[in-house]
């Protein structure tokens, strides 16, 4: 079984390369479907493969940057990426993350950091999950009552309130189909940025639901636009982590080959999934993340890894199923001469 192992030139360890491809693949599927980087999902997997943890973050970020690139290209073709919105949001994200990092440094000085950050993370994730499921049940009720709009039944419509804020300059985002004050996306991304900087995460996990619930983006556009931001921050992150010597470049390439296939499947699957389906699966992923953090807080790292990896596998299989069933259906219809689009 010698050929199954690959020598990592920098750390000098031998790693089971199909494992790396598999991690890349599943994170590719999930990232392409939900529009997030997914760094939090990779670390436990790498840990199990015996990958040196000193290189985990850098390797992970570089692979995420490459993968987001693949997904962004694909989403862009679907018209899922609102570049204008993405660039406007970059402004808020940048300032926000800086503020968030400053808060963390302040907390570090007064010696409160570790568990505060972790518990804030748990609360934020719980709120997101609550929001997603509240939205889901409201939409189900609306549908039962026959209250269906142009794009199907809607759940939470907080963004309608948000859109009433009319501070100039007003901006129209064509792809997302919204017109609002320029300050809305900037303030929302600022808020997400602060939280992301504070928690030390990429922020896709926060930005995706924020785009949907606060800015009023259709779910698909939220996914695509968020990936665009993940790509830009990922490339820069990869550069700086490499400068610090924290990257195993060969592993990045191996993971990327898996991610390339996964990202296509995840992204194309969004075509066959309803917006609400994406949101609910996202909510489940968020809960899995939350549970794993709580377990880690109580020093049950093994159990946490099991929870994360289990959730990833299930969601990944579910997404693949959507993709293959949807694609098969489309091809059948095409053959029958009644193409759907």
């Amino acid at each position: 079984m010698e050929w199954m192992y690959m020598h990592m030139p920098i750390s000098g360890v031998n790693i089971l390369w199909p494992g790396l491809v598999l991690i890349g693949f599943s994170v590719g599927v999930i990232g392409g479907f939900f529009g997030m980087g997914g760094a939090w999902m990779v670390t436990p997997g790498l840990n199990i493969l015996g990958f040196p943890m000193a290189f985990a973050i850098g390797t992970d970020i570089a692979h995420i940057a490459g993968k987001s690139m693949i997904s962004t290209v694909r989403h862009s073709k679907f018209g899922n990426v609102d570049y204008k919105l993405g660039i406007v949001m970059l402004i808020g994200t940048m300032i926000g993350i800086e503020i968030g990092a400053q808060i963390v440094m302040h907390l570090e000085r007064i010696g409160l950091v570790g568990s505060v950050v972790r518990w804030v993370y748990v609360v934020v994730l719980a709120l997101i999950a609550f929001m997603v499921f509240a939205d889901y049940f409201k939409a189900v009720n609306n549908k039962k009552r026959g209250d269906v709009g142009a794009h199907g039944a809607e759940g939470l419509t907080w963004y309608k309130t948000m859109h009433r804020i009319k501070i100039p300059p007003m901006m129209t985002f064509k792809e997302a189909g919204i017109t609002c004050s320029m300050w809305l996306p900037i303030m929302v991304s600022l808020f997400c940025g602060i939280l992301a900087g504070f928690l030390g995460i990429g922020g896709g996990l926060l930005r995706m639901p924020a785009l949907v619930y606060l800015i009023g983006c259709p779910t698909h556009i939220a996914v695509g636009t968020d990936l665009f931001e993940v790509m830009i921050s990922g490339l820069y992150g990869a550069f700086t982590y490499t400068l610090k010597g924290r990257i195993e470049i060969v592993a990045v390439f191996v993971m990327l080959t898996g991610a390339a296939i996964g990202a296509q499947i995840g992204t194309v699957a969004t075509k066959y999934a309803k917006g609400m389906g994406i949101k609910v699966a996202f909510g489940i992923a968020v809960i899995a993340c939350m549970v794993s953090i709580i377990l880690k807080q109580y020093k049950m790292a093994d159990l946490a890894a099991v929870v994360i990896l289990g959730a990833i596998s299930l969601i990944c299989i579910w997404i693949c199923k959507i993709m293959f069933v949807g694609a098969a259906h489309e091809l059948r219809m095409k053959k029958a001469g009644t193409p759907i689009d």
């Binding site: 020598h7 940057a65 968030g100 794009h151 700086t240 982590y241 490499t242 470049i249 917006g275 694609a327």
Partner: protein, 99 residues
């Protein structure tokens, strides 16, 4: 063309301003790690080349890593795209259905 270049320049400038702070978001802060790759045990080849570069000039290595990651991302993206298109699926349109 010039207009496009100007746009691109503006974008690059924006990225340079925006991105350094985004790095913090990319993960917990990491201290410098001093690792020397053991090139004595590597045969000449790709692994040896990267390990040598890692040992000798980390800056060139970092530029290389980013360029190659981006390059590989786009090459694999285009390649997989071709494969996807060849399946005959319609990949240019989709309806927005929320529920």
């Amino acid at each position: 063309m010039r207009k496009r270049l100007a746009k691109l320049g503006g974008f690059i400038a924006l990225v340079q301003v925006v991105v350094p702070s985004m790095l913090l978001a990319a993960g917990p802060k990491a201290a410098d790690l001093v690792v020397v790759a053991d090139t004595r045990v590597l045969a000449p080849g790709l692994n040896r080349y990267f390990a040598d570069l890692y040992n000798t000039d980390i800056l060139v290595f970092a530029v290389w890593a980013v360029v190659l990651t981006a390059l590989m991302g786009s090459v694999l993206g285009v390649l997989m795209d071709k494969i996807m298109v060849s399946t005959g699926l319609n990949l240019s349109k989709r309806k927005i259905i929320e529920h």
